[in-house]
């Protein structure tokens, strides 16, 4: 009798665990029924295109969380990625507007972005600063520096080739979506199907276990912050493409969406952990909900409220299913 009770509990936990996904799908179904043209290929492309910057930045963030552990305060987190992204966008815009070739501009912003990653890694693995604090402070500093570089002005796209991320098509698929898909697959491979990725997960799952097994945890953690900075660099170009130029102040929203998508993604994964694919799914679903609500005429001011409620519901459900287990 005890066994069957435990079995029932287990099933209940699994059910509660699937609720976040069910809620999302139900919400999308509702939108689809109310706005018949929502579920079209054109619209899906729009959703994907809209979500690209978030998808790219969550790749970096999920690597950081996987290696550092998913406790938001003491574990791994990189809030500075969005600032790195706008730094890249800012440097590239300013330099190309000034007539520099795109390649040089990209090189300069790559150096700047990786420097941010190095500082993060040093603060966190050398000084043992809490990642939340270190990357939050870096966020402020990098945004400040970027504001000096761009003087907080809107800059139109000077390098036309960046626009091809949005405009060009390969086999009928937008080039940007294709590129991000390739990057996502690579990230999935390296983070989930390689020795490096498994070691990363071991470090985040149990630092002691990883160290006993001879894994150099600090080095791995440092590498994830560099990866996150690199993903910030890539994100910058897609932000430029999406907004057709540099517009100031994009980092705040990106930061919130990135955190939302990543921790939402953990609720989708069967092991209840942050994964790359979960985070990407989270990013796409959040974009779909935002666009979907807009199509059925929900006041745009309500979207944040719905997102906030989603965080709370999803995280609470995942905590409850853990407790039931």
């Amino acid at each position: 009798m005890q066994v069957s009770a435990r079995h029932q509990k287990h099933r209940l936990a699994t059910l509660v665990g699937f609720l976040p996904l069910i809620i999302f799908l139900a919400l999308l179904l509702y939108v689809g029924l109310n706005a018949p043209n929502f579920m079209t290929v054109v619209n899906l492309k729009l959703v994907l295109a809209q979500s690209l910057p978030v998808v790219l930045s969550v790749i970096g963030l999920s690597a950081v969380v996987m290696a550092g552990g998913d406790d938001v305060v003491s574990g791994g987190i990189d809030l500075s990625t969005p600032a790195t992204a706008v730094l890249c966008a800012g440097i590239v815009s300013v330099m190309t507007t000034a007539g520099q070739p795109l390649l040089i501009a990209a090189g300069a912003s790559l150096i700047a972005c990786m420097l941010v990653g190095v500082v993060n890694a040093v603060l966190i693995t050398r000084l043992r600063m809490a990642p939340l604090l270190a990357t939050l402070a870096m966020f402020v500093a990098v945004v400040g520096i970027n504001n000096v570089i761009t003087a907080r002005k809107r800059l139109n796209l000077a390098a036309e080739s960046i626009a091809s991320l949005r405009q060009d098509f390969v086999f009928g698929i937008p080039l940007g979506i294709l590129l991000v898909a390739v990057l996502a697959l690579l990230a999935y491979h390296f983070l989930h199907r390689s020795k490096w990725g498994l070691n990363l997960q071991a470090a985040g799952g149990s630092r002691d276990a990883a160290e006993i097994s001879g894994i150099r945890v600090d080095r791995l953690v440092a590498q994830t912050y560099l990866l996150a900075a690199f993903m910030g660099f890539v994100t910058g170009f897609f932000m430029l493409a999406r907004a057709n130029g540099y517009s100031p102040g994009a980092q705040d929203n990106l930061m919130l969406e990135m955190v939302l998508a990543t921790f939402l993604g953990a609720a989708f994964s069967p092991r209840r952990i942050v994964t790359v694919w979960g985070a990407i799914l989270g990013a796409v679903l959040v974009a779909a909900i935002s666009i979907g609500l807009k199509t059925i005429g929900v006041n745009v001011f309500w979207t944040d409220l719905i997102k906030g409620a989603l965080i709370v519901i999803v995280v609470a459900l995942s905590a409850i299913s853990e407790r039931v287990q």
């Binding site: 005890q2 009770a5 491979h189 390296f190 199907r193 390689s194 020795k195 498994l198 070691n199 997960q201 071991a202 799952g205 149990s206 002691d208 276990a209 990883a210 006993i212 097994s213 001879g214 894994i215 092991r271 209840r272 952990i273």
Partner: protein, 506 residues
């Protein structure tokens, strides 16, 4: 005879204020299972850490496979083929068996991880070397404690280079029926010529499995048993505690009063069911039981740290202890087993910790009266002989025994009626241990109700008037004072003697 697989000779290891190892020797031969026993604080864990290269001893020599390793670093020791099965599990709960076995030594090809090969090799290793049929794709969090232990063993040995394996309390978290799985695995390793050092509190296991046994006391090896017979058990006990057994445990002239604390129908629906106990005033009542017996869970439930049903009656009145705060308010206090986690707020000072439960008494208008709090603390430091005798010392840096005294000091200040001690002397040095036993004895003499839950049979026999033995969630029997001896207690606790036989004997 065969030469040593490893040999430690004349090891001296000191810590501030403590000489943890005082010229200790330890030698283990290939293909033998060598037991290492001793009380808490005898130096067992220290010598293991010396062998692991974690501590650099002040004196002494470390030889593995005939060659001296100096200085011994964890890397060199590992390269020499010495592997450790730590007491803590150190596994990632959401990893699979295969991923855990190959952690840090994954097999990968040009296209990333070879998950299938890792899985089949992990399964083969578990089956052939450890006699276990664990599927490689199961998640660690779905495994039983014994299965997790086996995964840990497989991780240490899968590279095939192990010559010496140290098991540190491998059976501590296991239910008795699961211990067999570990024993089977160890027997298999032995046939391969691997030297095994087996550290355990459970003397019956030592007698069952070991070929030779070294006994540690006060930082030294005090006896080596080359032949193990059924009579070795009692001899081990006396070697462990030395001749001064009587001096070690306080003598008592107490006589227990009427029943004062009554547990009725305690049940948490999982770890224990329908526990009923009557405990008398001025009595020291012990609870024995292996991990998995429900003993720890019962203690947690009594103190409101775990949900359960049942009625608790204190001095004839039903008391609510559904939360720890209510338990404290009703005069019941707990000295927890994990004192660094649950007992002390480690970053706080001795004064802050000692007055944490009596802040209201040391305050005026809600503001802490620092002078009064210091006076109270200083009196407690003096009474309990806490060292250093500095109220402002941060408790993180105190020795285990002194930390335990600070926890006790807090509850003495509270003048509680019921004291629950959970593993009161784990990680406590021998000197402080005797003092803590004396304090417990004094409390009982003053009419307090004392419950001691312990995994150490010597401790229970030395301190308790009666001991309840738990097994698989039930109280199997209560051993009265006249029948209380280590052999009998161990036999009943581990299930070697069934309860019906016990009743025959008594």
């Amino acid at each position: 005879m065969t030469e040593a697989a490893f040999q430690l000779s004349g090891i001296v290891q000191t810590f501030p204020g403590v000489r943890a190892l005082d010229g200790a020797d330890l030698m283990v031969r290939p293909g033998e299972v060598h037991g290492l026993v001793g009380e808490n604080g005898a130096g067992k864990s220290t010598i293991i850490k010396v062998l692991a290269g974690v501590y650099q001893p002040a004196e002494g020599r470390i030889e593995v496979g005939g060659s001296t390793i100096s200085p011994a670093t964890p890397e060199k020791i590992r390269d020499a083929g010495v592997r450790f099965i730590h007491q803590e599990l150190h596994l990632v709960p959401y990893f699979t068996v295969a991923e855990s076995v190959f952690m840090g030594q994954e097999i990968s090809g040009p296209f990333g991880l070879c998950k299938r090969e890792m899985r089949s090799r992990a399964e083969a290793f578990l089956r052939e070397e450890l006699g276990s049929e664990l599927p490689g794709n199961r998640l660690i969090r779905d495994l039983s404690p014994a299965e997790r232990k086996l995964v840990q063993v497989a991780r240490a040995l899968v590279d095939g280079a192990a010559k010496v394996v140290v098991f540190d309390e491998p059976t501590a978290p296991l239910a008795s029926e699961e211990v067999l799985k570990i024993m089977t695995a160890i027997a298999k390793l032995k046939t391969r010529g691997i030297a095994i050092l087996y550290v355990s509190h459970y003397l019956n296991e030592i007698v069952d499995i070991c070929d030779r046994v070294t006994v540690f006391r006060q930082g030294k090896n005090v006896a080596i048993f080359d032949e193990i017979t059924t009579d070795t058990g009692p001899a081990l006990v006396s070697a462990m505690i030395g001749r001064d057994l009587d001096a070690f445990f306080p003598t008592s002239s107490r006589s227990a009063g009427e029943v004062a604390l009554r547990l009725e129908h305690f049940d948490d629906g999982q770890a224990f069911s329908d526990v009923n106990l009557d405990i008398r005033r001025g009595e020291i009542f012990g609870i024995a039981g292996l991990i998995g017996s429900g003993r720890e869970e019962l203690i947690d439930a009594l103190y409101g740290l775990r949900k359960s049903q049942g009625t608790l009656t204190l001095d004839g009145a039903t008391v609510d202890t559904k939360t720890a705060a209510k338990a404290v308010a009703n005069g019941m206090v707990l000295v927890p087993r994990d004192r660094r986690h649950d007992g002390l707020v480690l970053p706080m000072t001795v004064a802050e910790n000692a007055t944490l439960a009596t802040l209201d008494e040391n305050a005026t208008f809600g503001l802490i009266d620092r002078g009064k709090a210091r006076q109270v603390t200083e009196a407690l430091i003096k009474d309990l002989d806490i060292r250093p005798s500095n109220a402002q010392a941060v408790t993180r840096f105190l020795s285990g025994g002194n930390q335990q005294k600070v926890v006790l000091a807090r509850w003495l200040a509270k003048s509680a009626k019921v004291f629950i001690f959970d593993e009161p002397t784990v990680g406590v040095d021998v000197g402080a241990k005797a003092e803590i036993y004396q304090l417990i004895e004094n409390l009982a003499s003053e009419g307090a109700i004392i419950l001691i839950s312990s995994s150490d049979p010597v401790e229970l026999v030395g301190t308790c008037d009666r001991v309840a033995v738990m097994m698989r969630g039930d109280v199997r029997t209560i051993i009265e004072k006249q029948d209380l001896n280590v052999d009998h207690l161990v036999a009943v606790t581990t299930g070697a003697t069934s309860v019906s036989e016990t009743e025959h004997a008594s």
